[in-house]
């Protein structure tokens, strides 16, 4: 041992920037090259293409007899086409409501426990980054991929519409579609954050995938059923008209706890200018008012005001999920 230097000076020459960007860049690259990315794009593309095809057919039928083509293009997204006898396909937005959660879950259910399983977490955390850089970076990478997928799919739909319908969307329609994509983005982010939470809380990736899948089934397909069941017990729609309306309101409030409901309501009123209200009237008076209202197209900002509460609720749920995942991860043992 020769003359030992003092505590060596910290390296001064290094690239600036923060850890989460490095993590996010790596994760984003991984996602793009992953098999699940391709599978999801294909599944989502198909899920959109089928209703799209029938919706376009239906619109062409209608549009040929109608001179006022206002907001006809956008019907591509919300029109639930009838195919054959009594069978209605979900609209593009309906399909999106089913598939979007899977999109979010797929990019996050194994983000942390996957690192644990591979044995890369201690190594990653011993690099000079903050611990939260890992969750933040992964979340941002997930958001980026989701954004990419959504923009790709929606652009494809719009291109299809322009070619198939021969209608160029009006600026207001484009704006509505952009807003709807943003809304969908928020909805998928919620599931991304939820998947992140699962990946932190559940140590095995397979288990967290299963739990995520279960939550998706429950909330998306049986959620309405369960909520009506509970609602029917605590607030049955019966008695006088006033009472029935009030109880109906209660049931609706319950349904609004479901992110699925929030998303469907909001996307419908964003895309369809004819939707003037997303809630059942609270009194007989307002019910009558609604009956007397002349069917009219809402302006964009009116639609926006209508969906504002839903958007806020979705964002709040996303933030809550992510915050929980974040806190759990910060408190977790490195080897667990």
């Amino acid at each position: 041992m020769t003359a030992v230097p003092a505590q060596p000076a910290p390296r001064t020459r290094s690239v600036p920037g923060s850890g989460w960007t490095v993590v996010a860049a790596k994760e984003f690259g991984d996602h793009l090259l992953s098999a699940r990315f391709f599978v999801l794009v294909i599944v989502l593309g198909l899920a959109a293409a089928i209703p799209l095809y029938f919706a376009a057919a239906a619109i062409r039928e209608v549009a040929s007899g109608v001179t006022d083509t206002q907001a006809i293009f956008i019907a591509l997204f919300w029109l639930a086409p009838d195919v054959g006898d009594q069978f209605t396909l979900p609209s593009v937005t309906g399909f999106m409501a089913y598939v979007a959660p899977l999109l979010g879950l797929a990019f996050s259910f194994d983000s942390i426990n996957g690192e644990r399983a591979q044995g890369t977490l201690p190594r990653l955390l011993s690099q000079p980054i903050h611990r939260d850089d890992v969750v933040n970076g992964k979340f941002v990478a997930g958001l980026a991929v989701i954004g990419l997928v959504l923009v790709t799919v929606v652009t494809a739909i719009a291109a299809f519409g322009i070619i198939r319908l021969g209608i160029v969307p009006a600026p207001a329609e484009i704006l509505r579609i952009v807003l709807w994509v943003l809304l969908t983005f928020v909805y998928v982010s919620l599931w991304l954050a939820f998947g992140m939470l699962l990946s932190v809380a559940i140590l095995r990736a397979a288990t967290s995938a299963l739990v995520g899948f279960g939550a998706w089934l429950l909330l998306t397909f049986f959620g309405g059923l369960i909520v009506s069941l509970i609602g029917g017990i605590i607030a049955p729609v019966a008695g006088t008209a006033e009472e029935a309306l009030r109880n109906n309101g209660t049931q609706e409030a319950l349904r609004r706890l479901l992110p699925d409901t929030l998303y469907r309501e909001a996307s419908l009123s964003l895309l369809n200018p004819q939707v003037t209200s997303v809630s059942t009237p609270a009194t007989i008076g307002s019910y009558e008012q609604a009956q007397q209202r002349i069917p009219s197209l809402l302006s964009l900002d009116q639609s926006f005001i209508l969906v504002w509460p839903q958007v806020v609720a979705l964002v709040a749920m996303t933030v809550a999920c992510f915050a929980l995942a974040y806190v759990l991860f910060m408190r977790q043992e490195v080897r667990a």
Partner: protein, 422 residues
Amino acid sequence: MSASPGRIAPKKRPGRRLAAAPTAPSVGATGIDAPSDSIRIRTRGLTKRYDDLVAVDHLDLDIHAGEIFGLLGQNGAGKTTTILMLLGLTEPTSGAARVVGLDPSRGPLQVKRRVGYMPDSVGFYGDLTGRENLRYTARLNRIPAELTETTIDEVLDQVGLTDRADDKTDTYSRGMLQRLGIADALVKDPDVLILDEPTTAIDPLGVTEVLELLRRLVRERGMAVLLSSHLLNQVQSVCDRIGIFASGKLIGQGTMEQLAARFGDGRREVEVGLDLPQGADDRHAREVLRKVPGVESLDDGPRPGDPWTLTVAPGSDPAAVRSAVLAAVAAEGLPLASIRAVLPSLEDVYRRAVARPATAAAARPRPSNEDTPAAEDTPAADARADLDRVPAAAPPPVRVVAPDPVEPVTLPSDPPSPEEKP
């Protein structure tokens, strides 16, 4: 494995270490952070509890620049927990640590920038190649892009993985993963290297290479290395000092000789090999050696023709006895083939050391709770104060920690735990 011996020669890394930068004001800077301090890792009263299990119990450790320190201990003794606390990956329950003069729980980033760590079950992203994995590490360490590739080539070469560097790590064997783990720890050009069981799966020649690499890094770059291992002969061959853990306590630390003196059975031996023809009469030679002053007895080796073992009488200096043996051999013209001092193997020392605390703890009068009020708080507070009060001059590089039973009363001691009551 394509690793060929001699590939390990460390090269200079031009431009990577910029000298003459002023030492950054470090977290909690006081005495311990003085620039002349050669201590790279220091802990005082470092303690980690998991519920009622004390994983690490008031650990005092000093590791200097330019030395390799080996941590030994049974499974669950607390080695990994100690390492995680040194990296700031686990919060200590009490006590304090300084790594490169910084507090790992308050300035973890600066610490992690300068400490290379290889975890015990090291893993890599299986769908990336070895090189890509290292590139990610380099990026996380903010190594400038123009230095990244040369650095990666160099560390891959040092661990003998160049040939497989562009294969996905999914296809690596366990030993190759460990080699890559060592390369990964070296990418950031660390000042301190912490390796948790680094060589368990590496082949014998590879281990020799790795140990040689560690010695060179220590010698040429003044790195401090802390490694935990269960492979005692490796530890014995490469470590300057060794610390033995048992149930969270450091029951002994020091050089091999110091540990042998403390935990050995007190037998000191000299091994003498004579080049006698097969079946020759060796009675004269035996007589001569037996009569050397300070030799207590002479024993044959396990097989005929093996070197003889001379036991040094209590009170005699083994070195003097060796000289005397040499003189006698020369005077009598015996055909000497070999002579060496026999040190107890680390395995013997370890076995005794680990067996000891159980009996010691049983014999030790445990303080009652009334005698040590606030036993939980004061030792930690003392430890912190102590940690910052340490003078700039490096303490003697080696010392043997006194065993628990004879330690002064001021030593932090835990309240009696229920299961230890008679």
